[in-house]
Amino acid sequence: MNTSQNDIMVEVNNLKMYFPIKRGISRRKAGDIKAVDDIDFTIKKNETLGLVGESGCGKTTTGRCISRLYAPTSGSIFFDGTDISRMPVKQLKPIHRSIGTIFQDAYGSLNPRQKAGNIVADPLKLHQLADKTEINDRVGALFLLVGLDPEIANQTPYELSRGQQQRIAIARAVASQPSLVICDEPVSALDISVQAQTINLLEELQESLELTYLFLSCDLSMVLYISDRVAVMYLGRILELTTSEELCENPLHPYTQALISATPITDPIIDKTRRRIVLEGEIPSPVNPPTGCHFHPRCPIVIGECSEQRPPLRDVGGGHYVACIRVK
């Protein structure tokens, strides 16, 4: 992946995030949870990069490393040309201003004792983006921007619907005028009819505020819908990365193929004609991941070498990256 291009917003190289497991009275280190295990990718300006994978695949951890809510174990994260992976906490304030996050579980991410207006005003105060006199106007404008009635600024999150709570979380994420927003499962807790409203809002904001999104979700249809490019993660690693279109038409990795096949569609007639791949077994533990390719114990086309070496993520043409030795 090329470096130092102007249209690249984030470049992640060899990113690893291990969480130590401590045991006993002495809190001796007994092993690592390898949540993110050596991944590389870039996010271009104004694009939406989707990270899709099942629970525990490391997508949330990846997002939190980029927004520097975690200090990565190793690797580099270039944000707008600066490596932020080792930046000390004291210098992170401008980074946190430029990278907004919409957390999974909107309600849980909102302080239940704060009023909605104060929640949205917080980033403005923290980063000194508005005078005291301006704050109310700015908050009102942000409410309108996300399609909320400014009147509800005096309500607490508990009094709002889940769709409204999610909009508050979105308003807070964009309040500090970030250039990158990490959207962690922003719609999975919402009802179907509200999901579509929220997705359309995110798209409108992307256009009007010129945002770049990292969109994390386990809902493959939604990720393929909203993303320009998609990375498929499994057990801390990226197995395939390409444009949404290419991933749909030409999925190369056996895991991607299984994921597409397992994703139900709402058309029973077409569904009957689809190829079914039902994977055996379950996702192994990230504490003791399989040797070689992490996917090999469940892979339908596994061969001997798969358990020996980690397959590199390589370009098979036109920016279609895949980590599988069986793919030519």
Partner: protein, 329 residues
Amino acid sequence: MVAVLDVQDLRTYFRTKKGLVKAVDGVSLHIDEGEIIGIVGESGCGKSETMLSTVQLIQTPGEIVSGRVIFNGEDILQLKANSPAMRSIRGSKISYIFNEPMTSLNPTLSINRQISESLELHLDMNKQTARDRAIELLEMVGIPDAGARIDDFPRQFSDGMRQRVMIAMALACNPPIVIADEPTTLTDVTTQAQLFELMKELITRLSIALVIVTQNLGVVARYARRIYVMYAGRIVESGPAEAVFNHPCHPYTLGLLHSLPRLCENKNLRKLAPINGVLPDLIDMPPYCAFLPRCTHKTERCEKDPWPDMRPVGEEHHISCYADLREMP
């Protein structure tokens, strides 16, 4: 086909401090022998309450106000909720698979105790036969080395395995009906596919009828033969899966399908068309159609007349709407 369960005009109301919530408001549905049906709708539409009402698992302030639930030629709503007859129906005749295996399994009892309980209680088995049968059931749901794992506790199983144990428990007494309430909401798609393929295979083999209660339209499109779509305590559309998904006739069903991205559809091809507005507050509902404020196909009758009755629009295909999307441009 013979209906194994016939629900007629069921009403379950919750008397809350804020007012009367008609959680289930005149629901009629039936399940044929060995059939898989899906009940879909968004949160609060009454899909879970409908099925819980059929086995009288509604707690105060909820109350089953009226209706009939015909099972084996008998109206089982006439039975007292905790009578021995009702208790023998629950578990041995109509069994449940709940969505959170970690909370619905008892963490302090071994898997053997939990599966054997219903075998001993409903089928009068002694401890040893029940244990043998429990091992057989675990093998049937694909738990490797079942004989050795039978004395394990729920925490020793993974999420997917726990859900398999739940399926084994539900099938223990060979019931004619199994109700699966959001059986795979918390599981990943590849595990979900495994579990549904397993359930489908077992259900077909044992000719059990399955009711899938879920928000996931894709799952029921794949596995259910017939679909009931619920909104605000009522069924608004019902029919064979192909009819409901490929030729929806109720504006709500159409709205739901247009809100979802189809697999491999991209934002550059189509903008999602959400249903405008919000889900209705179920307290003190208006007498007319609850979907009206969000409907894009209003007619003059809608506000004047009460909520329309179900009417046929095709073979086995019914809607509760004055408009008919097939006649729309």
